[in-house]
């Protein structure tokens, strides 16, 4: 209908006009595009200028208000010193020593992460002629190349860690990014750094796993005070390859996190992804997987905590483009205080994806009267010979379990902690071993 079209346009226009100044200020505040990703940055900035900010009128952003993120760059957020306090998840200086058999790279989107480092056997940098061709391929294959958080990352990241993986890599690759107050000193030292540059840490990773290769990666994204930690990680899994991907995303204060994990899987490849997220004023994570020919195995496990006034949102999407694919997905969330947890899990099984076996479970603990949980599995199935199940629960801690523990002489508070820890452990135990040394994770387990 003509009328409704023009109405929508008018609304979009009005909204665009309302948000354009923010985008303009943001783009104006960025340093000029430079470095190996210069053309990508130009394209990203053009896209940002054209796009309207995601708003709660978009179905995908219905529950997710960008205000905390916009405030980070509007200078309305108080400085980190006043809010981060002692709860700061990690001072850059205080990174734990790397676990044995772990190679740690520091990614800040600007400096060379490989300076003074040697890559373990099996890992090599993609050549000048290779990575520009591969970059963005998986984003497009998983349909998120034009997502606003992706464009934001592309507009700002001036470096990309692009690695080829051949054979089985014995060491764990640990990719650490620290955003916000703790690194601001370092950023200031850098000539030409702007305020926006200081508050934003974009991380861009590209992994190409060759046939039968295997790799363990742990990504650690930390943020403190008014800052944005932005992550775009693309991975292409060749036939029979295995990627074990862990993500620890821990923020404090006004820190915000925007992450995209895009994975393309060829036949017989395995993706095991585990992520844990806590402490962000606003966090939005979008794991997107495409089994390009089916016949692959995908396992996604997540734990997210929303406390205080935090909003934690995960939008996952798995598409089976061929037969015999498998998915195991477990998404767990805890909402406490005034926190709000959002989960949207899409699973698409088109006609050619016969014999797909997909199971998704969303389990949520709601621990306070002011907290909220929104969960929405989304299954679209056309193939008929498939097994697709999903489930969702929202409860508080089980009374009978608490009672059982108390009847064994354990106090109510300790019993609640035990049950909470059990709830978390089901996900956390599958993180790469290198995760154990990280303070925020230890604290989470100690508290729970």
């Amino acid at each position: 209908m003509m009328a409704s079209l023009s109405d929508t346009d008018a609304a979009a226009l009005a909204q665009g006009m309302a948000t354009a100044p923010w985008t303009q200020r943001f783009l104006d505040g960025l340093p000029a595009p430079a470095g190996e990703l210069e053309t990508v940055q130009w394209r990203g900035r053009e896209a940002l200028a054209r796009q309207t900010l995601p708003s709660r009128r978009d179905e995908d952003w219905r529950f997710t208000d960008l205000v905390p993120l916009l405030a980070v760059f509007d200078g309305t957020a108080p400085t980190a010193g006043s809010s981060g306090g002692t709860d700061s998840p990690a001072a850059a200086s205080a990174l734990p020593p790397p676990a044995p058999d772990t190679v740690r790279l520091l990614l800040d989107g600007r400096n060379d992460p490989l300076a003074g480092q040697t890559l373990p056997a099996g890992l090599s940098l993609l050549g000048e002629g290779e990575w520009p061709l591969a970059l963005g391929h998986t984003l497009a294959a998983t349909g998120c190349q034009a997502h606003w958080p992706v464009e934001l990352n592309q507009a700002t990241a001036s470096r990309c860690l692009a690695l080829r993986v051949s054979g089985a890599v014995a060491s764990t690759l640990e990719l650490v990014s620290v955003a916000g107050a703790d690194v601001s000193g370092a950023a200031e030292a850098e000539p030409g750094a702007t305020q926006i540059g200081q508050r934003l840490t974009p991380v861009r990773v590209l992994l190409l796993l060759e046939e039968k290769a295997s790799l363990n990666v742990l990504q650690v994204q930390l943020g403190n005070g008014p800052c944005l930690s932005s992550l775009v990680c693309e991975a292409r899994l060749g036939r029979g390859s295995t990627l074990r991907h862990g993500l620890l995303a821990f923020g404090a204060g006004e820190a915000c996190f925007l992450g995209h994990l895009a994975v393309e899987q060829e036949l017989e490849s395995r993706l095991e992804s585990v992520w844990a997220s806590r402490g962000w004023a606003l966090s939005r994570f979008e794991p997107r997987v495409s089994q390009a020919e089916g016949g692959a195995h995908t396992s996604l496990k997540a734990l997210q905590l929303a406390e205080e006034h935090q909003l934690v949102d995960t939008h996952s999407r798995v598409v089976f483009e061929g037969p015999d694919g498998q998915l195991e997905q477990l998404h767990k969330a805890i909402a406490d205080g005034h926190g709000r947890s959002v989960f949207n899990g899409a699973v698409k099984v088109p006609r050619l994806a016969q014999r797909t076996n997909a199971a998704q479970l969303s389990r949520n603990l709601l621990l306070s009267n002011q907290a909220r949980i929104d969960t929405k599995p989304e299954l679209e199935i056309v193939a008929d010979d498939v097994r697709c199940a999903h489930g969702a629960t929202v409860t508080r801690l089980q009374q009978n379990e608490l009672f059982y523990l108390q009847s064994r002489g354990i106090s109510a508070a300790v019993a609640a902690g035990l049950l909470k820890r059990g709830f978390c452990q089901e996900v956390l135990r599958d993180l790469p071993a290198a995760a154990a040394g990280w303070e925020p994770l230890k604290r989470l387990l100690a508290e729970a």
């Binding site: 006609r351 709601l366 949980i373 929104d374 599995p377 299954l379 199940a389 999903h390 969702a392 929202v394």
Partner: protein, 480 residues
């Protein structure tokens, strides 16, 4: 499987209610405007409050846009090409059935709903609605003895304006959504049920909707009120003739249950679904909502949706009262190019309110069948409980089964459980049954009816058997 009939053959059977009754009909001119709204109101000699209600809704409707979030696709609807009022010409007042046009009685006979005294179903009171008006309501006197009011909504407006004024639009406000606003502006007829305090309705109540005209929209409105401690079971059925064009059906149903009251609302929807190429069929955009206003009140929706080219329907319960109970049992079958986006909303507001959702979707042919449901637990719904189960059965590899359950909770002391599964009629299951000497068709219909059993068990007995048969018929020709 070579020459044996396929499940596919089994699921598509000709639509046997597709005939048109040739009867002189009074129609108003095409199109919708404020004058049309006034004209409909004048034709029904309505009191001013109702005209105001309609006009308010019409003005709100003008400012609204058609919702587009459902997983449905259809040609745009031209609201000015529809006729908003059509009624078979007949005597103004029909004192008894003898005065009703025999053709109409015959029509309902053919539909399996005999209205005449000697043939009518025992123990089921029927209100028969033909296009925009109610033709007859059976057993009214017997119901009146118990104080139960069961009549068309037009009659209720005349005879009980105070009840209409105090309940109409209180559950589904006129600006609730695009189609509800349209309905509120132009609704023609429908049923009104009032069960007074403490009365258990002595028989099943039922309304039968028949669309006859090819270019008329049907906009019926049903209002059921159960006072404290009252209970009632109500069933609606619907059919329409086969036309190449699409007809619009936008109904609103409102249920109100006060303390300890109980309402059971069952639907067997069998509107014409269009042919195998998706030509023709009813666009069914329906807003159904029940409000459990009283403590310990109970509302139960059961639906068997087999017809319509497009189904957009979410029978909902607003559970306001403490310990109130909402239930939703649904079987939705789509075949050929039918599209259904249906489900329910359970809004828990009262403490210890409970709800159960059982949804069974069967998709065959190239159809698309979506379950879309909302379970929302408000901050005051301490101890609320919800259990949802939605299962899909896929027949053939071209039908889509989608599931979109929205779950929102703001109350830690509430328990929500949702589970869903997908299955199909597999060749080996069929082989097993056939090897036991069960015919192919019987085997398929056995499996389908087993799949739907949880829902059929909720239907009034007479209709459960009907529904079973209906599904078997509808599924003809689609498994293989």
């Amino acid at each position: 499987m070579s020459t044996a009939p396929t499940v596919g053959d089994l699921v598509s059977q000709p639509y046997k209610y597709g005939f048109v009754t040739d009867i002189e009909t009074e129609k108003i001119a095409k199109g919708l405007s404020e004058d049309v709204v006034r004209l409909i109101s004048a034709k029904k000699s309505e009191p001013t409050f109702l005209l105001d209600f309609r006009l308010r809704a019409y003005r709100q409707w003008l400012r609204m846009t058609e919702p587009d979030w459902a997983a449905l696709g259809h040609a745009p609807i031209d609201y000015q090409e529809l006729i908003y009022y059509a009624a078979p010409k007949q005597q103004e007042k029909k004192a008894s059935l003898d005065e009703v046009d025999p053709k109409l009685l015959e029509t309902f006979d053919k539909l399996g709903i005999p209205l005449s005294e000697q043939k009518r179903l025992s123990n089921v009171a029927v209100d028969a609605v033909f296009d925009s008006v109610s033709i007859a309501t059976t057993y009214r006197e017997k119901l009146a003895e118990h104080g139960v009011i069961f009549c068309s909504i037009s009659e209720a407006v005349k005879d009980h304006p105070e009840l209409i004024a105090s309940y109409l639009g209180t559950v589904v406000p006129s600006n609730d959504n695009f189609f509800a606003a349209l309905n509120s502006a132009v609704f023609s007829d429908g049923s009104f049920v009032f069960i007074p305090k403490g009365v258990e309705c002595p028989m099943e109540l039922s309304t039968y909707f028949r669309i006859n005209s090819g270019d008329t929209g049907q906009f019926e409105r049903t209002l059921i009120v159960a006072e404290e401690g009252a209970s009632v079971s109500y069933l609606e059925g619907c059919t329409a003739p086969m036309f190449d064009t699409n007809q619009l059906h936008a109904a609103v149903v409102e249920l109100v249950a006060l303390d300890d009251a109980s309402i059971k609302y069952s639907t067997v929807q069998n509107w014409y679904a269009g042919d195998e190429n998706g030509k023709g069929g009813i666009y069914n955009f329906v807003t159904k909502r029940g409000q459990c206003r009283g403590d310990r009140s109970h509302i139960s929706w059961t639906q068997v949706e087999t017809g319509s080219a497009i189904t957009w329907k979410y029978p909902s319960c607003v559970l306001q009262g403490a310990d109130s109970v909402g239930e939703f049992y649904s079987v939705a079958l789509t075949n050929n190019r039918q599209q259904a986006d249906t489900g329910t909303k359970m809004i828990h507001l009262g403490p210890r309110s409970r709800s159960t959702i059982v949804s069974k979707g069967i998709s065959a042919g190239q159809s698309s069948n979506s379950y879309r449901g909302l379970v929302q637990i408000g901050p005051k719904a301490v101890g609320a409980k919800n259990y949802s189960q939605c299962d899909s059965m896929l027949i053939g590899d071209q039908a889509a089964a989608n599931t979109y359950p929205y779950i929102r909770s703001q109350q830690p002391d509430a328990a929500i459980e949702h589970e869903a599964s997908t299955c199909r009629i597999s060749a080996d299951q069929l082989f097993y049954l056939q090897s036991r000497g069960i015919g192919f068709e019987a085997a398929v219909s056995m499996m389908v009816s087993g799949f739907c059993r949880d829902v059929f068990n909720q239907l009034p007995m007479e209709f459960a058997a009907e529904a079973d048969k209906l599904l078997a018929l509808k599924l003809e020709g689609s498994v293989g």
